[in-house]
Symmetry: C2
Subunit: 263 residues, 2 copies
């Protein structure tokens, strides 16, 4: 809901009967973290997650330190907002680097510092695997299996995984990996968007409205249910055509689509 | 080398010292299959593969029959060209269909008819897994593991797999699956392109020149070597910027890049 300010977003959720909302750091910091926390709590809304930390694949000490510092701030913001979960997008390959395995190893290494610290602030980290088309420039963690391989190096109360239909729908191992995630108590967030083509240039803003694409969203939600997930489900659609419309209309449409294609 | 006619392509390969060439059906049929076969053989060139058959995920009998008929023609063309391998791209989801598992099952089903028939013509089928970003509209077979799961339902002399760096580089299971493919004698073709971002709209024409992107191409080739692959390596780059240049220049550049980044 990029077209909405934080107060509009809070009012819009309340008016649409939506009880939990995922927030993004930039607009929250723009409005003020404390002010947002007050507004959200006053409206009886729950912050399902804060998006996002991560981007800690830097190979140099300065880059690593800067990423850690920024992620500590993100944890503090999540704590102040009362968000259980900070969503982490790992980051891509450093410029000129072709070593995916090494970059994935550095993600686990940074978490070794960040995760206990975050747990001390009451915030759980959620590793979000992104679609393999983002492996080079955004997220070297491409599958739920990879995310779990990293998360399981830490206690489940410190590090979990974020499962997003858009990123994972194509993976034949998804049912098995969701079971594994559920059994380990690792699912910290479930996110939804549909897969639509053609993908736009840069592919980031190609997420589709629920029901417009190729994903069996109900099947995805049922897998998460079967894995024991009982938390809120976030609908996350980056799409200029939706941002250009009235926020209330879009939110009502999302709720309708959710009822039709997910519930 | 879309800028070249078939005779230009043959002459260009000979002049650049390239001993084998992958051909595409459309230009070959435009020039004439028999004429192409004669020209290629006369020049002492080997046809490493014919691209492509497949697109047999149709759920209706008429669509299935049409796909089979077209693939039989493709097999005959491959046989006439002396190509060992017909590359298969499975096809995406039928319009409105969200059942990836069912579509993958239909691929195996059609192969049950096509594969023995192709073997009778001396042509081996190569299932090519495409990057997961093509799962909905082009190829429901997204990983080497999936391709092998299908291929292994048939004798190795009938059905193998095509491994393409662009489609598979992100997959942490690649080393293990390449070993599996090699042990089963399943690798029928190795193809290379680099991964460059941002991806263009529609993403199909985003393949990068060797060395321009994020893939450890030498590592990829070494994995194929270690898996026992000794056949030709095809460089396959769909990219308008390359097609706009002089064909001879591009081919020379490809040979140079191959020496620098692959050999």
């Amino acid at each position: 809901m990029r077209q909405w300010s934080v107060p509009e977003l809070v009012a819009g959720c309340v008016s649409a009967g939506v009880g939990a909302v995922g927030l993004w750091r930039d607009p929250v910091r723009g409005f003020g973290v404390r002010e947002t926390a007050k507004l959200v709590a006053g409206a009886g809304l729950r912050v399902s997650s804060l998006c996002r930390g991560g981007f800690f694949t830097a190979a140099d000490p300065a880059g690593r330190a800067a990423a850690l510092a920024d992620n500590r701030r993100a944890v503090e913001e999540a704590a102040e907002l009362g968000a259980d979960t900070l969503v982490l997008v790992s980051g891509g390959l450093p410029e000129g680097d072709r070593d995916l395995v090494g970059a994935r190893r550095r993600v686990a290494d940074v978490l070794g510092e960040l995760a206990p610290w975050a747990a001390g602030h009451g915030v759980r980290l959620g590793i979000e695997p992104l679609h393999p088309m983002f492996a080079s420039d955004r997220c070297v963690v491409s599958t739920l299996g990879q995310a779990l391989d990293i998360a399981e190096q830490f206690p489940a109360r410190e590090v979990g995984v974020v499962v997003d239909s858009y990123h994972l729908w194509w993976d034949e191992r998804l049912p098995a990996e969701l079971r594994r995630a559920g059994e380990g108590g690792r699912i910290v967030s479930v996110q939804l968007a549909d897969w639509v083509t053609p993908l736009p240039e840069g592919v980031l803003l190609g997420r589709g409205q629920l029901g417009d694409g190729s994903i069996d969203l109900r099947g995805f939600r049922e897998l998460a249910d079967a894995a024991g997930y009982r938390g809120p489900v976030e609908v996350e659609i980056f799409q200029p055509a939706l941002w250009a419309r009235d926020g209330g209309d879009v939110l009502r449409e999302v709720v309708e689509r959710y009822r039709e294609h997910v519930e």
